[in-house]
């Protein structure tokens, strides 16, 4: 009986104490006709060795390919200490720190996390996390609508150059509240937000402008100009940023000097493995002025009865367990363990360590770009500055190329044709993190060279055994 410690004798003793003949009797308030039969279709339980074998087979079958995909999830080195500490039972198996005195470890760690995020973003306040970057942006949109008291506008300017899955998630999460998302075009030559398109909305009533840095194409936006523009036009500015890159790039709290009103994004680059897309965590920072509109847990430092420093959940009057239908969000459980890992990650890396990793990613992207464009038929699609990810134009369909590369265990990037049909079939988003060595990039170049060569020989199909 896995994980259930009762001996037969104890079970008997406990039933006697209750005054019941059998465990069945304890379910006598459930109407008989509703009882289900046994769950025999699920089969017998596996012992640890059997499940280990099964999981190892599954893990092996996915092949651990060489990955050049970014697109919102980045393959970074995670220090050994991070998950060894985060999976300590005292972090791993505790819950939301409702009993503050028995949760000072998690509470202090979350306070340190808030401190680190406000430093990294140059913002005044951080919450203790949301689910992921996309849902954090949805919460930021709802928060902006609540905070934009002047006009009560329910319209938001959302750039098309933002991650398409983020746009889709925001739409799912806010559409039932009558919020309208207006799509902002990008400039086909630079890949940045199209300033002419933006100018169409000058003096119009919007709650906020969303500003990605970098955007989905890996292109850096002119964040000062965009932030200034949104404030000049009575809108809040919401920055969606990659937190690792904020060690190098101007952080949202400094954009246009005033800074943005809300900064959010995905914390994955801070210690979360790729893990098929989750768990990661969403972060959110804002100005002091907006703190009472913030969703999610917030930790404050205070003192105990003896005047000793301690930490506690605070401003709980915003939250669902107190305010119920008037809460700022329905969020309850967030991503505590991922934040535990991120806090340890940032402590081990420091500002200098994060910056070195960011620089190496930038360098690797440039190396990869050089190697691939040297093949002669591949060129960058956009002229705007790129950081660790960029769009390349291939001489043939990205989908075909990726399939062939994958057959050689190279995941060559992300095909943009599905979400950006206007870019044609040949646009490929590629990324090279610090985890990709020069040899890895050479392998990529070699395989790409073979794909291009076999196309010239009209023999693409012979190379692509999975085609």
């Amino acid at each position: 009986m896995p994980f259930i410690p009762h001996t037969e004798e104890e079970t008997r003793e406990m039933l006697d104490a209750i005054g019941a003949d059998s465990i069945d009797e304890l379910f006598d308030e459930i109407p008989h006709n509703l009882r289900c039969g046994d769950l025999a279709t699920l089969g017998p339980g596996l012992w640890e060795q059997e499940i280990s074998q099964l999981m190892q087979e599954k893990a092996r079958s996915d092949g651990q390919p060489l990955c050049f995909i970014g697109a919102g999830a980045y393959d970074h080195h995670v220090p050994a200490a991070v998950w060894q500490l985060a999976t300590r039972g005292e972090f791993y198996t505790a819950y939301t720190p409702y009993q503050a005195e028995a949760s000072q470890g998690t509470l202090q760690l979350l306070y340190e996390y808030q401190s680190m995020m406000t430093e990294l973003m140059a913002m005044e306040v951080s919450n203790a996390s949301l689910y992921d970057g996309a849902s954090a942006l949805a919460e930021a949109v709802l928060m902006a609508v609540r905070a934009h008291r002047k006009s009560k506008s329910r319209r938001i300017l959302l750039p098309r150059s933002l991650h398409p899955h983020y746009r889709a998630t925001v739409h799912t999460l806010v559409k039932n509240q009558g919020i309208e998302l207006v799509e902002l075009a990008y400039d086909g030559s630079t890949g940045q937000i199209d300033q002419n398109d933006l100018e169409k909305y000058r003096n119009e009533d919007f709650a906020a402008l969303v500003i990605p840095q970098p955007n989905f194409f890996g292109v850096l936006e002119d964040t000062d100009w965009l932030t200034g523009w949104s404030h000049d036009n009575g809108m809040l500015a919401i920055g969606v940023v990659n937190p690792l890159l904020m060690s190098i790039l101007a952080p949202p709290g400094t954009w246009a000097e005033t800074g943005v009103d809300i900064a959010c994004g995905d914390g994955q680059p801070l210690g979360a493995p790729l893990s098929s897309g989750g768990p990661y965590f969403g972060f959110m920072c804002c100005t002091q002025k907006l703190v009472r509109q913030m969703p999610g847990r917030i930790i404050g430092r205070t003192v105990d009865l003896d005047g000793k420093q301690g930490f506690a959940l605070t401003l709980q009057a915003r939250e669902q367990h107190i305010r119920r239908s008037k809460a700022t969000s329905n969020i309850c459980t967030n991503q505590g363990l991922m934040v535990t890992a991120a806090t340890i990650h940032m402590s081990l890396m420091g500002a200098d360590g994060l910056a070195r990793v960011a620089r190496k990613c930038h360098r690797n992207l440039n190396l990869l770009k050089e190697k691939l464009t040297a093949l002669g038929e591949i060129e960058p699609l956009f002229s705007g500055p790129a950081f660790h990810e960029t769009v390349l134009r291939l001489p043939l369909e990205a989908k075909r190329v990726l399939r062939t590369l994958a057959a050689h265990n190279v995941l060559g990037g992300y095909d943009l044709s599905r979400h950006y049909p206007e870019l044609g079939d040949n646009a490929l988003l590629v990324c090279a993190t610090e985890n990709r060595s020069a040899q890895d990039m050479d392998k990529y170049r070699l395989k790409m060279e073979q794909v291009l060569a076999s196309r010239r020989q009209g023999a693409c199909a012979t190379m692509a055994k999975f085609d």
């Binding site: 994980f3 465990i23 596996l46 005195e101 028995a102 000072q104 799912t172 101007a250 402590s347 360590g353």
Partner: protein, 486 residues
């Protein structure tokens, strides 16, 4: 001491960052950061020691009995963690092609099938990242269903007054008004009030069964019939699924949509407040609206179902496919239990709860619903102790911490005064339950002798009771050296 206070400017003892300081090229100067963030500058050992020490200031399932009602703090098997962290699974990119994802996807597909079977629903999506997001998905699907039928007069969602706060908050996020339904003194929904509230404006009802009062809603079939007759749908909050696993299925009770908290029933870790996972299961009529992505199969190969395959879907809830690592842990757990193990979860969690209830009643504590069976949890009310001894539920809770036990859920549900919601779970041995009962008796005795002693608890923890008012009034939400030094 904060990690920042261990920091020394210029200390670089790192093995974790590249030795090189690569040049940046082609980035305009005005886009670069001027001042580096003031993150800690500590050695690896200092960080390890600091966070190890912090961890030791927590209560956790691995170290203490943690009978937090409604949270199902059962043991989290170690195999679930180590197998979900196999390099092949940990390193899989969420956008990896299906050719390189069959192992992962087969596990997800089988998990969908297992969850369908244990809940009696027609289809499952694993996309929601937590219980509250599962609730959102569920109510959004109910709304999409009514909208697709052109039925736009439905503006209200009914919520019993005992419900979790997430229920009314979710209804509002989906653009509905939450209307409260009272509970009768026996713990069941007030049927007359329900009938009066139902009408053409009813979109649906959100129910937890067993309810948060720790009792099974006996008239569930009648409720389902009434709500369906009014044209509404039934939403099942799966917070208490642990109590009925293998005994009765929400699908058979008449529910149209349910969410499950895998971090409760399927034993994935609570992690100090997440990550969780809140898959949703639906009846046939809601199947087209499931959140994406879902894993489909043609028998041999597994593939993703996205908006192209599910055009009526309520859409995406996250950037990728939910909390995959949590789902893997739940999958391992489910495989280790098998069908028989599932039923034993309900059996022994119910046995433990009824045993504790009986023993506490024998010891003179007052049950909120003495005539009812406990499910996997139950409520006692300390209103008599509060009145006669001047020691309330919070005081008992804090003193329990000194006895080396986490307190039960206090002051929830809101309609029982001075309450403890106690959920022992099936993984606790009888001696833990007996020790808790002993501690309760000891604390009450102590309160009779010296109430102030109990009111001053805890004494044995890193801090004593904290000043919450100061925390909220004089907001100190981050380390600011310039403030400390001033």
């Amino acid at each position: 001491m904060l990690i920042f206070e261990h920091s020394r400017s210029g200390r670089r003892a790192r093995a974790q960052a590249p030795a090189t300081h690569d040049e940046l090229s082609g980035i305009p100067a005005h886009l670069l950061r001027q001042q580096p963030p003031r993150l800690p500058e500590v050695s690896e050992m200092q960080a390890v020691r600091h966070y190890t020490r912090l961890s030791q200031k927590n209560f956790s399932i691995d170290t203490q009995f943690y009978p937090l009602g409604s949270c199902t703090m059962k043991y989290n098997p170690r195999a679930c963690n180590s197998l979900a962290m196999l390099p092949g699974l940990l390193g899989r990119h969420p956008l990896a092609p299906e050719t390189h994802s069959q192992g992962f996807m087969s596990a997800m597909h089988e998990l969908q099938e297992i969850l369908k079977e244990v809940t009696g629903m027609s289809a499952v999506s694993l996309a929601p990242m937590a219980g509250a997001q599962g609730e959102f998905a569920g109510i959004a699907m109910i709304r999409a269903y009514h909208d697709a039928r052109g039925d736009r007069q439905r503006t209200e969602v009914l919520v019993p007054d005992a419900a979790h706060g997430t229920n009314p908050a979710t209804a509002v996020m989906c653009g509905y008004k939450a209307r409260e339904i009272p509970t009768k003194s026996d713990g069941d929904v007030d049927m007359e009030a329900l009938k009066a509230a139902l009408g053409p404006q009813t979109a649906g009802i959100m129910l937890t069964n067993p309810s948060t009062l720790g009792v099974f809603e006996r008239r569930i079939e009648e409720i389902a019939r009434l709500v369906h007759e009014a044209g509404g749908l039934l939403y099942y909050d799966g917070a208490n699924l642990n109590a009925i696993l293998g005994r009765v299925r929400p699908g058979d009770m008449g529910f149209d949509v349910i969410h499950m908290n895998l971090h409760k029933t399927f034993s994935t870790p609570h992690g100090g407040g997440g990550p969780g996972a809140g898959p949703v299961g639906v009846s046939k009529r809601l199947q087209p609206f499931l959140p994406i992505p879902v894993v489909g199969t043609d028998g041999d190969q597994f593939h993703w179902l996205e908006e192209e395959q599910l055009p009526q879907s309520i859409g995406r809830l996250s950037a990728f496919a939910g909390n995959a690592g949590v789902l893997l842990r739940a999958y391992v757990y489910a495989k280790m239990l098998g069908g028989e193990g599932m039923q034993r979860v309900a059996d022994y969690s119910t046995l433990n709860a009824n045993y504790m209830l009986k023993k506490l009643m024998e010891a003179g504590f007052e049950a909120a619903y003495p005539e009812r069976r406990a499910t996997h949890e139950f409520i006692i009310t300390l209103k008599r102790e509060a009145k006669e001894l001047g020691v309330n539920a919070m005081d008992f809770a804090k003193r329990l911490l000194d006895h080396g036990m986490h307190a039960p859920t206090t002051y929830f549900p809101l309609l029982v005064p001075e309450c403890f919601l106690i959920e022992p779970t099936e993984t606790e041995a009888k001696e833990s339950l007996d020790a808790f009962i002993e501690a309760m008796i000891t604390i009450r005795e102590e309160a009779r002798q010296d109430a102030e002693k109990v009111k001053g608890a805890p004494y044995s923890l890193p801090v004593r009771r904290l000043d919450d008012v100061k925390a909220a009034r004089e907001l100190d939400l981050r380390w600011q050296p310039e403030k400390t030094e001033a």
